[in-house]
Symmetry: C2
Subunit: 344 residues, 2 copies
DNA sequence: GTGTTGCACTAAAACGATTTCGTGTTAATA
DNA sequence: TATTAACACGAAATCGTTTTAGTGCAACAC
């Protein structure tokens, strides 16, 4: 510990100037082969590594991307980060991941922390609390200084590059599939409307019902309050005297919980009740019956997002128009829904 | 973009020196109230934020902790990171997370990238490939410069602070429970022996069998080769003519997969076959039947690890002896095993 | 002997901050 | 009037690096 070797120390030890050392290490033609060899040998012996802070300060580039996600114990965000990491590393960038824990204040803190030169760009998925508060000043301030790309959880008020899942289309596809496999009474378990992705999925759900001429029973729309316990809120849907025969839920946890509750009540799945979730994670794969779900392609989303961001960072043209990329969803049919073929 | 405001610019604009600006912003008594007010107002107006790179360079402290984990799409590591984040933020540190993807080379790369002044300390869980290669020189080199704490995946050859799960005890507890609930033919699904945690869990398993006088059937020890497909390797255990009545598997995926395969074969769980896993994640909770498992307390592990690291960073005494902390496991009984009470 | 060229290297500025040590002015005191 | 103290501020060093612009010296041509 402590004895970090620097250019200056090498220079002193070898009786040359720091510039000579610097140039020798980068094989500059200005330095004689003799000196180069000597310096390199010495540097290697002492395991010299340039101080990256100094480098970044000098180059005015950190080659680091700051990523802020709402929570980490979450399969979808994990896969997005994998994609980000991959794309970033390929282009010589490194990734620093921070967590807002769905808190507005922590989101602001994280941004302030990383903004002062630490990162060359931001990749952010907005915290629920921020969406609820609808206060985006920290993003506005940020944009003046360093490029920002929003992914998954976005907001129209913030004008920047974005990558989103086709949540509307996903909601539509899921609902349509339930309808086509014979479900008549279809419910949705979703988030409050301020969560952008939940809202879009609900819109898709409603549109599908409308297109197929199915009336919407208000009791079939459950919007989960995350400050309260999950089970009772879902239980209430299952316990309905006129209970649904198809449920679309906007994430794995809601879907798996609902299915578990239905099973406990002795309901047969998928014959008496079908389930479709969102996010193709481990829960969907290992539930019994396994869950039909909309795969979100988080990895691809991460790759697109970092691509957009790096393009923005390296672009000389600040007026390059912002774009929004939409990642398609895939309906993965497993065993929590009936097969189309059974019906037709 | 581009117009980042610096001390120098403020100074120039206000016709004072940079030192005056710096002092004014930190409310130094050396500066008149008048000037302080003026400077502060100006700084606020232009949303001045000190450049953190410059600060870190000057202070020779980054207040950043580098965390390297093998993979992110993993419930246990996610919870550890939550714990690390929490402990670090409490003490004013920030966390930078990188991923080795179980690759030796990526692990080395990550360390080299972060080592040059970027972080004040490292928190690492060793990649499988590194464990297999048993090459730890990058850690040795590192230790000279910056403190290192290993967590979960550790190695005796590396002399540093460590935090581990009581894997041996967990393996013992799981096996003992299977024995006590009447299982006679107990199998283990584990990793190759070079994975430290898998090995320890297997040792605990074997010790329990020995203590209860049960012979070990070599066919009941499955060590998964991750380069090959998972299912066939587990299938072979389930298909055994003399198939086991109790299975202990060292992670959620193995356990859930094994149970699924058994169910497909029509085996009744837990009556004909019991299952205990490791890691209390979503898979265990949402499997059907839900999985009995050993909770690893990842959050606590993260907190302990960061505590140890920060103590080491801030300690003036480099000879402070290294310590290894052991985090206890909790056996969570759900529905993939028989109840003790049924037996006694 | 003078000018040119090339070599091998150094000095100094720059990145953005903090901090130690001055320094000039004013006002109070002897 | 001379000395001192307080005040308000500035210059310069520092952190570790790179890079531009020299610098000194030898060899060579004319």
């Amino acid at each position: 510990m402590g004895t970090k070797i620097t250019l200056k120390k090498i220079a002193k030890e070898l009786g040359v100037s720091t510039s000579t050392v610097s140039k020798a290490l980068s094989d500059s033609y200005e330095i004689s082969q003799d000196t180069r060899d000597k310096v390199k040998a010495f540097a290697k012996m002492y395991n010299y590594k340039p101080n990256s802070l100094a480098l970044r300060l000098r180059n005015q580039r950190s080659m680091v991307i700051g990523v802020i996600i709402p929570e980490i114990v979450h399969h979808f965000f994990s896969t997005v980060i994998s994609g980000i990491e991959h794309g970033a590393n390929q282009r010589g960038y490194n990734v620093m991941v921070c967590f807002s824990n769905e808190s507005y204040q922590k989101e602001v803190l994280n941004i302030e922390m990383l903004a002062g030169g630490s990162v060359d760009g931001f990749l952010v998925s907005i915290a629920k609390e921020t969406q609820e508060l609808s206060d985006f000043r920290h993003f506005e301030d940020l944009k003046e200084e360093v490029p920002l790309v929003l992914f998954d959880r976005v907001h129209p008020k913030i004008n920047c590059d974005k990558v989103v899942v086709d949540d509307f289309g996903g909601g539509y596809k899921a609902t349509e599939y339930l309808i086509k496999t014979g479900c008549k009474k279809i419910a949705i378990i979703t988030t409050p409307d301020y969560v952008s992705v939940g809202l879009e999925r609900k819109k898709g759900f409603l549109k599908a019902l409308e297109d197929y001429g199915i009336n919407i029973n208000p009791a079939y729309i459950i919007q989960i309050n995350e400050k309260q316990e999950l089970k009772p809120q879902i239980q209430q849907l299952i316990n309905l005297s006129d209970c649904p025969d198809g449920i679309f839920a906007v994430n794995e946890i809601y879907t798996a919980t609902a299915m578990k509750l239905a099973q406990e009540k002795g309901i047969k799945i998928p014959d008496e009740m079908s389930f479709i979730g969102f996010t193709d994670g481990y829960i969907s794969q290992f539930s019994n019956p396994s869950l039909s779900t909309l795969a979100q392609h988080g990895y691809e989303m991460g790759e697109k997002a970092i691509e957009l961001l790096i393009k923005r960072i390296e672009s000389k043209d600040p007026d390059f128009p912002f774009q929004t990329m939409v990642i398609d969803t895939d309906l993965k049919i497993r065993n929590s829904t009936k097969k189309l073929i059974d019906i037709v």
